[in-house]
Subunit: 195 residues, 2 copies
């Protein structure tokens, strides 16, 4: 048995061409406005090859983000335990990734892209739909389509203050303090009374 070290199939050039095309099209057309067929055409390959290498359009989108971790895998364990205490679990997973110096740099690049006016569609139609929205569904909370954007409003503000703008004391707070401050907010947004 050969050890593949997790390498995926396909010529590196073809994979790179597909990812390049996907990034360009997702950035200009958003998630909804971009089809796998269009990505394939731009990369000069058959759509079946895109599916073969990358799976679904959701998977292709996450691959195009070039995140250091697949947020859907990380968040699956959070969602599996149900809504009670989900905010604290969500925050602890979030902080373990964002506070890791090696993971932080690519995440900052992505955050800057998503928060840039040109990244608006990518965040709105892509990231929120593919990554954030499904958390609410997996948790089985009421009105996930109303509550998850509210959750996102606090998480994005935290990312801004702690990592992008580095405003003290938020930037240097220990993880436990961040959890103490933000978990009750996010738990209420997930499951509490928003009147």
């Amino acid at each position: 048995m050969t050890v593949s070290r997790g390498r995926r199939p396909g010529s590196p050039d073809t994979r790179a061409a597909i990812l390049d095309a996907a990034r360009t099209l997702f950035a200009s057309g958003g998630f909804s406005g971009t089809s796998v067929r269009a990505v394939a055409a731009k990369a000069g390959v058959d759509p079946a090859l895109v599916h073969h290498y990358f799976g679904t359009k959701d998977d292709l989108f996450v691959a195009a983000l070039a995140l250091p971790v697949d947020p859907r895998e990380v968040l699956a364990s959070v969602a599996a335990e149900g809504p009670d205490g989900a905010a604290e679990r969500l925050l602890r997973v979030f902080l373990s990734v964002w506070d890791d110096p090696e993971l932080q740099l690519p995440l900052l690049g992505l955050a800057r892209t998503l928060l840039d006016p040109s990244g608006k569609q990518l965040l709105r139609d892509g990231f929120l739909k593919v990554v954030i929205g499904p958390i609410g569904v997996a948790l089985g909370i009421d009105e996930p389509e109303r509550r998850m954007p509210v959750v996102a409003s606090q998480v994005l503000g935290l990312i801004l203050m702690r990592y992008l703008l580095e405003v003290e004391p938020v930037a240097s707070m220990p993880a436990d303090e961040v959890v103490g401050i933000y978990a009750p907010t996010i738990q209420r947004y997930l499951t509490g009374d928003l009147s």
Copy 2:
């Protein structure tokens, strides 16, 4: 008695030159790194003239932001009534300004500048210090230097979702719904237990 229509003294050219110099220096050096003396030198005028036209360095900074309203005046009434219910008053004032179509455009321009990596120092050393920080002090809350950046993390996230990225349902919620969702959060950040 002549009606001045609120016009301020000074040659328009001199005032414009001072504001130009102030914007350039605040943007590159941040609030703390910019002196009235340096602004005067760059504008080719005497520092006394800067003080004469614009008052203190704080006043000059707010003038350089070219906001449609002076946030310090708007927020003074919120602060005067004390910490009880301050979050709801703060949010209602905030929404009355941001939801006004005529005021929203210049505010969006400012928000984009402050959230851009190049605006980092301006937001951190300027806006938070001159505009946000003093609200906490005026309200007489405990640990304003810890609590106000936390408040800012939720308000910035709300600005992002409602106005900059226009993510539904946050973008189109009536003001009362925004207050119902966010006032309890901000009130806790101002006066509640953050353990």
